[in-house]
Symmetry: C2
Subunit: 410 residues, 2 copies
């Protein structure tokens, strides 16, 4: 690597959706990265279709980030960069699923890092986990929803009864599908990602052309109706699994029972489940490849290439520890069955600024209880209300409260 005076120079090849997001992300995080790594990252040059010369950018870079996509000249540039002793980061799944062995071999031969977290499942760190965390496990199977476009389409079809064509148009409108969506909907994009995952999980060379795949363009609304009737979820799932002394890698639509870890993955999300006898299973999920998500994965790779492994950087002590926060609560009161009880409780709550969202009165006589949910409030205020309520003489047992997480999801 070229030594620099406190700077770390990154050559960027490609400035499309992901490349542009990366170029925007880097300066925003430069200060923080300098704090973590001791080196200030900077863009040494950007090569686009119409401008920039590779040799010049390489000469003044410590690391090359390849986000052009396609096979050539991406392959040629990555090989040249590694032969020149530079670490490289790429998100190029087509390239890795077809020329991965050549690239990994070159990285080993020149003792440089070749990182590619952004190539599969966006910011879901499945590459890192397979390469490092699970290096000590014998993996039996990998299941993945690795294409966000098709998962979004299937989710919309199931939710609304739309046809495939309608849901695809909706995905294009929202930016979840490209103008030419054929590699997504026919399963080839997912097949390339599964080839990469299978290679890492099973130490076996897997070429894209060895992966059987099937897409979702033949799925009809009544297939999803059937799924709903039976409580099943229809997903486009990639599978890589040991079968006897062999390895099967394939992608196809499949019905999942609701308890399967991938069944609840909806919208443009990705998820990967890794199964192994020793560890049972690990599932990772998150947003699939969008520009900012993939750029964030690429930046994580860049930072990893900059820092010594497994170092915990010094703290910045920037944040104070806060003790009082805002929460919603469920409140359970065992009360005497007499008039005016609810009014008194409500008055105490109001006094502390606690606002009631819903109330249920349950049971009669010695079984009588008030169960309520209150809106988010500073916990100290709620505690003060609880202390006052605990002193009310119609309470038959100490009040019980449990927090309620109010965030919206899904």
């Amino acid at each position: 690597m070229i030594s620099t005076d406190g700077g770390f120079r990154i050559g960027l090849l490609g400035r499309g959706t992901v490349g542009g997001a990366f170029a925007a992300l880097l300066p925003r995080h430069a200060e923080r990265i300098e704090r973590i790594t001791g080196l200030r990252p900077e863009l040494a040059g950007v090569m686009t279709r119409s401008s920039g010369a590779f040799e010049e950018i390489l000469a003044r870079s410590d690391l090359i980030v390849e986000l052009m996509g396609g096979i050539e000249p991406a392959r040629e540039y990555l090989l040249a960069a590694m032969r020149a002793g530079r670490h490289v980061v790429t998100a190029n799944k087509q390239l890795l699923s077809q020329y991965g062995e050549e690239l990994w071999e070159t990285a080993r031969a020149h003792d440089v890092q070749l990182r590619f977290e952004g190539a599969v499942a966006g910011v879901v760190p499945v590459i890192r986990v397979l390469q490092e965390a699970l290096a000590g496990a014998t993996i039996d199977r990998v299941h993945g929803i690795v294409n966000g476009t098709t998962n979004f389409i299937l989710t919309e079809m199931a939710r609304t009864g739309m046809t495939f064509e309608e849901a695809l148009a909706e995905a294009q409108r929202l930016g979840y599908a490209e103008a030419d969506p054929s590699e997504d909907v026919d399963g080839r994009d997912a097949a390339a990602k599964m080839a990469i995952l299978a290679r890492l999980a099973f130490d076996t060379p897997v070429h894209l052309e060895q992966v059987r795949y099937e897409g979702i363009d033949q799925i009809k609304p009544d297939d999803l109706e059937y799924a709903r009737d039976l409580g099943l979820e229809l997903k486009l799932v990639g599978t890589a699994e040991r079968i006897g002394a062999g390895l099967s890698v394939r992608v196809h639509p499949i019905f999942l029972y609701p308890a399967h870890p991938l069944a609840s993955v909806s919208g443009p999300f990705n998820a990967v489940t890794v199964e192994s006898e020793a560890i049972t299973e690990v599932t990772m999920s998150g947003p699939g490849a969008g520009g900012p998500q993939t750029a964030s994965a690429v930046l994580g790779d860049v930072i990893s290439a900059m820092i010594p492994p497994a170092s915990t950087p010094p703290t910045s002590s920037a944040l104070e520890i806060v003790q009082d926060v805002v929460s919603a609560f469920y409140l359970h009161l065992e009360v005497a069955d007499e008039p005016g009880v609810l009014a008194q409780v409500a008055q105490v709550l109001a006094l502390q600024g606690v606002s009631v969202k819903s109330v249920v009165q349950k049971g009669l006589g010695v079984q009588a209880r008030l169960v309520m949910v209150v809106h988010p409030v500073l916990e100290s205020r709620f505690q003060a209300a609880m202390d006052l309520i605990a002193g009310l003489d119609f309470l038959r047992a100490p009040p019980r409260a449990i927090r309620v997480l109010e965030e919206e999801f899904g």
Copy 2:
């Protein structure tokens, strides 16, 4: 590091549940690790409560694995090992949540690795992801179910209506709770883990004593009844989040709406969700700390310490790519509404050894269709049956088939 002739010597401190599992796991994986790293790992010495001298083990080890637990002498040994230039791996959450800064500072000062994936969430690689994959993201919040004992107890209470005491006894019977479960059920174990996660996610020193925690021993069966009525899930959740210029770290029981990524985490499982504006959210889940799971995480750390970062090892080419696999199928046939149709289809299926699990006849006249699910069968056999069915003259449209994943989960 001491150079050795092709061997990599590991000194093991502690041989309890996790230490014993690690000592058993290492020789089983030695050959594979040698293939990945080029070095053959071996146990150089084991220190137990009654045997082994630390100084002797240190002198003949390349790396120290600390699985004794507790503060002293674990702290003293880890510090001494790092000062002697050895990488160290530990799963000691108590120690890291109270003396983490001292340990991480020592690792930086002596340029050695201090890895601790096993300290939080067993084999779920949350430490590695926070330290590396998400190093480029500004994290807003971390939510975690980080104690498998309490998650098992809450799941059992919700499932069966048991009291806390009954569910705890069940957990102890199944080995999910220790004889003295107090640190698990009172939330202190989860608090220690959240202190570690918060430190990594927010670059802010967090001591166990700064984490507010609450356990699950006060939860009553009717709280879970209420949850069921409202479609909520009750979980013991640890939270670390930015609040203004501050950081709140806390653990308490909380109701979750079903779409929350942690709501579906049941039994002795752990899961952590990391939220950040740039990446929305990433969730990782898997079995919580059991001996074999934690030992597997520890072994992953050891392997990471042995290999150069981000290298993809050469393939072993041990597995052949298999093209024909066994699957269950859903089969959708648009048929003429006439007698004998089902019999003919059934005959064709039987001819190819395809066994029917369930059949539904839907619609009448030109809407008539047969929807069936067949038992797992070699895909080539099923395809042969499909080809024959496609030739039957009462079919009004080509047959449609989608795979069904038959595995049991949950």
